[in-house]
């Protein structure tokens, strides 16, 4: 089997090209879902692979609770440098676990703190999910709900004052689309996936961008005006001080930042709303390539993990 067993660890490299193809040619809804699923599967396989490597590499060490059969010479022959990779896998797993725990705790903490900040605020009668905060800094956020508090749209007065009534409606529609679709789950999922394997990091930005596009498209449908939605995004973006944007990971590839791309996309044609574009078109071909790449990556990742798992199962006397 040889180096084949390490495949799940490096296959996440395929995520970046797939993400780019998907973002260009799929409806943002499909792209978000596809990329989130891809990230989760690849992260699971990668972690499973680390787990198995750890088992094989360290089962022969004295004092560990694993069956000694797992460290049989045949099994160890499957994994190159079994001992080294096994020990390295322990360290890697510890890192994965630590990073994942930190990410989840931070997510819950930010959410709880934001809800606590709004706790004293009685909602207005018309829009119960809307929290308008008097603040000279322009911002608008979708705050996902918790078990106790429903999701809320948080907008500063500075942001509202800069927009006209139609644009406000588009802004609210965008934030409500985030809440309705539960985009924070997608974002958290790819964040955790990136914790499991750093090669999956580009997926974070890709999913974040596609989720924004998804909300943009939903908002455009809700207000029945793509141009208005584009104008709202552009206006809001120009309110925020320029030049403070951290250099994004994709900056080298894409000339324009995510917000101008969103506006340009809204000014362009409507993306195909049925999950898949027609197969004969360029977009259809690209979508096919993205889906096929996803499947091949995930399948070979899973295959490599399963193979190692079956080898272990075969030698275990049960």
């Amino acid at each position: 089997m040889g180096v084949f067993v390490f495949l799940p660890l490096v296959l996440p490299l395929t995520a970046l090209p797939i993400a780019r193809v998907a973002a260009q040619h799929l409806h943002p809804r499909s792209a978000t879902r596809l990329l989130t699923a891809l990230g989760c599967v690849l992260a699971l396989c990668s972690t499973l692979c680390l787990l198995l490597l750890m088992v094989v590499g360290t089962a022969q060490l004295p004092g560990n609770p694993l069956p000694d059969a797992w460290a049989d010479p045949q099994v160890r022959a499957v994994v190159p440098y079994a001992e080294i990779s096994g020990t390295a896998a322990i360290g890697a797993l510890a890192l994965v676990l630590g990073a994942g725990t930190v990410a989840i705790r931070r997510h819950l903490r930010v959410r709880a703190r934001a809800h606590a900040a709004l706790a004293g605020l009685t909602p207005r009668s018309a829009d119960r999910d809307l929290a308008v905060l008097p603040d000279p800094a322009p911002y608008a956020y979708a705050l996902p709900g918790t078990a106790r508090a429903p999701g809320r749209v948080v907008v500063s007065t500075a942001m509202l004052d800069a927009l006209d009534a139609d644009e406000r409606a588009a802004l609210l529609a965008h934030e409500r689309a985030h809440l309705a679709a539960g985009h924070h789950r997608h974002l958290l999922a790819v964040r955790l996936a990136a914790c499991a394997n750093p090669l999956l990091r580009p997926l974070r930005e890709a999913v974040a961008y596609n989720a924004e596009r998804w909300a943009d498209e939903d908002a455009a449908l809700a207000v029945a005006d793509r141009r208005l939605t584009a104008r709202t995004v552009a206006r809001a973006a120009l309110l925020t001080p320029a030049g403070t944007a951290p250099a994004g990971g994709l900056a080298g590839f894409a000339a324009a930042g995510p917000v101008p791309r969103r506006v340009a996309a809204l000014l362009g044609p409507v993306p195909p709303s049925r999950g898949w574009p027609p197969a004969a078109s360029t977009a259809g071909l690209a979508a096919f390539v993205a889906a096929a790449g996803t499947t091949v990556s995930a399948a070979s990742s899973l295959n490599a993990s399963m193979a190692l798992f079956l080898v272990l199962k075969a030698v275990t006397p049960l």
Partner: protein
């Protein structure tokens, strides 16, 4: 014994903890603003910055307190009126204003908030602004008038 001598400073060091000063400086902006605001909330009438400083326990320099109050004023969390040669301050008794302040504290202290709070727009890069203005012009030049639905 030596600790008692070190704390034997009248006034500011009355709690016997001279290192408090640096500790206070290390506290976050948001926390200090919260402290000042809670002290202001206990006042029955508009008060001076010196009054606030005294109630804070003398941990903070007078200028620091004035800076914090000015910052709170910029955030519309407190109001001030001129009385003689200085200002007197009072909190904005508005729950929305307080909520805004608390939210700002969350936003300022959590650098990695993007995973939870999906911001409407991320900030623009230096080249993006010019591009955005072009796009905005394109968006505003609606050929068939505004409100023309293009999606169905």
């Amino acid at each position: 014994m030596t600790a008692a001598v070190a704390g034997n400073d009248s006034g500011a060091g009355r709690r016997g903890r001279p290192e408090r000063r640096t500790g206070a400086r290390r506290r976050g902006q948001g926390e200090l603003e919260g402290l000042v605001l809670s002290v202001l909330g206990t006042a029955q009438e508009p008060v001076t910055a010196a009054w606030v400083q005294e109630r804070l326990g003398g941990d903070l320099a007078y200028t620091t307190v004035v800076t914090i109050l000015t910052r709170l004023h910029a955030k519309q969390a407190v109001t001030r009126t001129r009385e003689g040669r200085s200002y007197v301050w009072s909190p904005v008794a508005d729950e929305a204003g307080l909520a805004a302040l608390r939210m700002r504290r969350v936003l300022d202290s959590e650098a990695d908030r993007d995973a939870v709070l999906a911001s409407f727009v991320s900030s623009l890069g230096p080249d993006d602004e010019r591009l955005m203005r072009q796009l905005l012009r394109a968006a505003e030049e609606a050929p068939d008038g505004p409100g023309e639905p293009e999606a169905n």
